[in-house]
């Protein structure tokens, strides 16, 4: 009997009655599939050097970093450099972790973030044979 009562209430709710305690998530939760903005960080990474780029994330979401290209003397390179997501601090980009990455078309690093200012740091750990021109795509919540 008790189960039957519960089923009835559930049925009324399912029929679209409001005020039944369980609301349609689609009506009350903000979408997590919001628009993305893509920023391009291009520059020259000196042999043994470091470069960073700061950007603002206005809402919760994922930041994806893709090392799109790396060329030395105009020639594409498959050498590994390190890349990481961090926070601007002092005169640098302070990263929690960096990882070795090579050029690719899919993100090498993806992190869930809250709204704030972040930076992407690229660094030559000693692999470059000369200064390299690089391009990193930063996909972030718009």
């Amino acid at each position: 009997m008790r189960l039957a009562s519960v089923s009835l209430v559930a049925g009324l709710c399912a029929a679209g009655s409001s005020g039944c305690g369980t609301e349609d998530p689609a009506l009350t939760q903000p979408s997590t599939n919001g628009a993305l903005a893509v920023e391009s960080f291009t520059g020259t990474l000196a042999k043994g050097g470091t470069a960073f780029y700061s950007f603002t994330v206005p809402r919760d979401g994922n930041v994806s970093l893709t090392l799109l290209s790396l060329t030395i003397g105009g020639v594409p390179s498959d050498l590994s450099i390190t890349m990481g997501l961090g926070v601007p601090r002092g005169t640098a980009c302070q990263t929690q972790a960096q990882q070795g990455v090579t050029v690719g078309v899919t993100p090498q690093i993806t992190n869930a973030v809250v709204p704030s200012v972040y930076c992407v740091n690229v660094n030559d750990p000693g692999n470059l044979t000369a200064d390299a021109v690089f391009s990193v795509n930063i996909a972030r919540p718009r």
């Binding site: 920023e39 960080f41 960073f52 780029y53 700061s54 603002t56 601090r89």
Partner: protein, 253 residues
């Protein structure tokens, strides 16, 4: 079941007494955590160059930015210039400034901002009369520092030898500002020496000079000061051949 019946009145009495029935005792509210500190940004700026520094503001509050010192990278003389100091948010490969001022070095803030917690930056540009590589020192202060003023007025005497220098520090309490006046009272035997007032850098234990004059006694420097630690530096102008005795008086908020 019988046991429950026996215990129920006990629970009710306990509930009426306000103990242990779901309502937590009113917790003691912790006091607000107040974060206040100074950090320092120093580097060398080239003509037409820019340098920036990022910092985090962990709670809403006031930030004071002070360009405190400009000295020649070669020789160390105080540089009279008014470079652009900017305040903003790190963006791209620089600092996206929203506020700028052309500032001569001083010990009172040239930029004061009331901000929400976040990440901000200060940028210094090599303009406004910067014609050669120049050392600069910027102080960034958040909130009211937990700092007491040192005694004032105070007189300090010491000896100064050839190629020597002597430094004395003083502190201006958190939340205090006013004018600091430093007087080179006497030099014996009489000769001309240099003295200056500047920002004391606890991180490097160095005195970044703001203003300097030469005097044989009676010379005076007066500067507006905010909360913080400052220094007076007395130095030989490379003219001394023997020790001299000097005395300075410092009067500050």
């Amino acid at each position: 079941m019988n046991r429950m019946k026996k215990l129920l009145p006990v629970f009710l009495v306990a509930c009426l007494a306000g103990a242990g029935c779901g309502d937590e005792p009113t917790p003691t509210e912790p006091g607000p955590i107040v974060v206040a500190f100074s950090e320092y940004f120093s580097d060398v700026i080239a003509p037409a160059g820019t340098k920036f520094y990022s910092f985090g503001l962990v709670q809403d509050g006031t930030v004071e930015v002070t360009l405190a010192s400009l000295t020649a990278a070669t020789g160390g003389a105080v540089v009279n210039a008014t470079p652009t100091v900017g305040f903003g948010i790190p963006a791209g490969t620089g600092c996206g400034v929203s506020t700028t001022v052309n500032a001569a070095p001083a010990l009172a803030a040239q930029i004061t901002q009331t901000l929400t917690a976040g990440i901000y930056c200060v940028r210094v540009s090599g303009d406004g009369g910067i014609t050669a590589d120049t050392n600069f020192a910027v102080r960034i202060t958040q909130g009211k520092l937990n700092l007491k003023s040192t005694a004032s007025p105070v007189t300090f005497s010491s000896n100064l030898g050839p190629k020597g220098a002597s430094t004395q520090t003083f502190a201006v309490a958190g939340g205090t500002s006013g004018t600091a006046t430093v007087t080179l009272a006497t030099v014996f035997p009489s000769t001309t020496i240099g003295f200056g007032v500047g920002l004391w850098r606890p991180d490097t234990a160095a005195c970044s000079l703001t203003q300097v004059i030469n005097s044989s006694g009676g010379g005076q420097l007066s500067l507006g000061v905010d909360q913080g630690i400052y220094c007076v530096r007395v130095f030989d102008l490379n003219t001394l051949t023997n020790f001299v005795n000097f005395s300075i008086s410092i009067n500050h908020p």
